[in-house]
């Protein structure tokens, strides 16, 4: 697959961008995480499970998840006005749909779990980085999860299937396909295709995305493990 094709930033087709992850980065939130993938930077806070106002929105037999994906005005090439765009409304929904699958919602009836995502810098793959950060922030909040959710985009760029597109690649790509999955359960929780692919291309792209998610999952686990270890260390 890595057939000698070199990308705008020098990466191989199946190579992720450099990743930084941290949890517990905010003081007031119940859980928080910061994720960098290349120049893309997202910060996520989780509040809850907590009592829901107004109460008639609550569900008697499970928690409800509320999610806001929002871009900082300085995160984009042209300044973004703070009012939510249609794109932000859609991404808030698909991220909520993707992330909710991992939460034991039935454990927390009548409550809300509120996920706030701020994209601090946008250089492609913001929804995937957001999902990766949500997963960490939920774990950081002590909310029991079926599995960590790991997410990455793949795309078709000048005929080649590539992993983890940056903004320049994304804008020139023939197709862009973000996915999210629970790797241990092998279940897909987000899948979108924007663009045109043959069935064969889709399969190749999809398999590359799964591979990318596995790599990201390792980094997520390592991030949580190191925190856990340091806490244990402190306790000792």
């Amino acid at each position: 697959m890595s057939s000698g094709f070199v990308r705008v930033d020098g990466r191989l087709p199946d190579q992720l961008r450099p990743i930084k992850m941290a949890v517990g980065v905010l003081d007031k939130a119940d859980g928080s995480a910061y994720v960098e993938q290349g120049n893309t930077k997202v910060l996520v806070a989780v509040y809850g499970p907590r009592e829901l106002h107004p109460k008639h929105q609550a569900s008697l037999d499970s928690a409800i998840v509320r999610c806001r994906y929002h871009m900082a005005p300085f995160s984009t090439k042209e300044r973004k006005t703070p009012a939510p765009s249609r794109r932000e409304v859609e991404l808030s929904k698909v991220i909520k749909d993707a992330v909710s699958q991992a939460i034991f919602l039935e454990n927390f009836p009548r409550t809300s779990i509120d996920i706030f995502i701020e994209v601090l810098e946008a250089d492609g793959g913001t929804r995937c980085a957001s999902i990766n950060a949500c997963s960490l922030a939920l774990a950081n909040a002590g909310i029991p999860l079926r599995d960590l959710i790991s997410s990455v985009a793949v795309g078709k760029y000048r005929g080649c299937i590539i992993l983890d597109l940056n903004d320049e690649e994304d804008e020139a790509a023939e197709a862009d396909m973000p996915i999210a999955m629970m790797p241990s359960l092998n279940m897909i929780t987000l899948l979108q295709v924007n663009g045109v692919l043959t069935e064969e291309e889709f399969k190749r792209a999809f398999n590359l995305a799964v591979k990318g998610c596995m790599e990201i999952n390792m980094i997520q686990r390592e991030t949580l493990r190191s925190v856990y270890a340091s806490i244990k260390g402190e306790e000792d």
Binding site: D97, Q101, T198
Partner: protein, 271 residues
């Protein structure tokens, strides 16, 4: 969206049980659409319009074409814009007000399939680069909601577009000149959308009705064009395994040609 009346546990259990026997609660085969009816052109003030019913789900799409300015980053192309409203006539769960997340998602799913396939040849709709182009508005109205408004909206939109007629024009030195008569929009492809659903343990069905949508938990919309290309996917609720996704695509590719034939028949489109 307010919560819908909950489907009773009994109905849900019966539904899943039937599915395990390759049968559905309304008697359809697993991969059958409900009856699809099309009424086209009945909004005289629109350049094109189509009302599509799938069972009792009913969607009206209208196309207007007006003059406007191009986006600065694509100065030599016309503009296509898709807007969807879940009007409160359609369901006790829809409320008046600006489009909610479901309406926005619907519009963006339809928009993406049209945009990514370059179904409307927007270069043909440029009059004076950077200054004046045609803007094609597709407005989707969900009028009666009994499940699967995505496929109905997608179908209504492509039929409204492909049957639209605008005043015949030519461009001379960046000036718009109207001529006698009417001409179609430059439509190059026929993308349609197939929505599938499945219970956690059980087979895929296509075209879930409202009870099925509320009960089955896992849903995915796949857009396919007349060349058999995938031109859009949106996983909706729930989760699917890798194999299930490949299976869903394979089903969608099998089913899509029936929808594409409807578009060809209604529009006379020859692509």
């Amino acid at each position: 969206m307010k919560t819908f009346r909950v489907v009773s546990q009994l109905v849900r259990a019966r539904m899943v049980d039937l599915l395990s026997k390759n049968s559905r609660i309304d008697g359809r085969g697993l991969l059958d659409y409900r009856e699809i009816k099309v009424e086209k052109g009945f909004i005289g003030r629109a350049a094109g319009s189509a009302q599509v019913s799938i069972g009792s789900t009913k969607v009206l799409a209208g196309v207007k074409v007006e003059l406007g300015e191009p986006f600065p980053d694509v100065p030599d192309k016309g503009i296509l814009t898709v807007n969807a409203e879940l009007v409160p006539l359609a369901s006790p769960a829809f409320e008046p007000g600006p489009p909610d997340e479901n309406a926005v998602e619907l519009a963006r799913i339809v928009d993406r399939a049209l945009r990514e396939t370059e179904t409307v040849d927007l270069k043909m709709l440029c009059i004076e680069p950077g200054r004046k182009v045609f803007v094609v508005f597709v407005d989707i109205y969900v009028l009666d909601y009994d499940g699967n408004f995505i496929d109905a909206s997608s179908l209504a939109s492509i039929i409204a577009l492909s049957t639209a007629r605008i005043r015949r024009f030519r461009v001379e030195d960046g000036k718009l000149k109207y001529e006698d008569g009417y001409m179609p929009l430059p439509i190059r492809h026929i993308p349609v959308t197939v929505t599938l659903a499945k219970p956690n343990d059980g087979p895929f069905i296509v075209d879930p009705n409202l009870e099925e949508e509320l009960s089955l938990g896992n849903r995915i919309s796949i857009s396919i064009d007349e060349l058999g290309r995938i031109c859009g996917i949106q996983k909706l609720e729930g989760t699917l395994s890798v194999d299930e996704i490949f299976k869903a695509i394979s089903i969608a590719k099998d089913v899509a040609p029936k929808l594409i034939d409807i578009v060809r028949r209604e529009s006379g489109l020859n692509v």
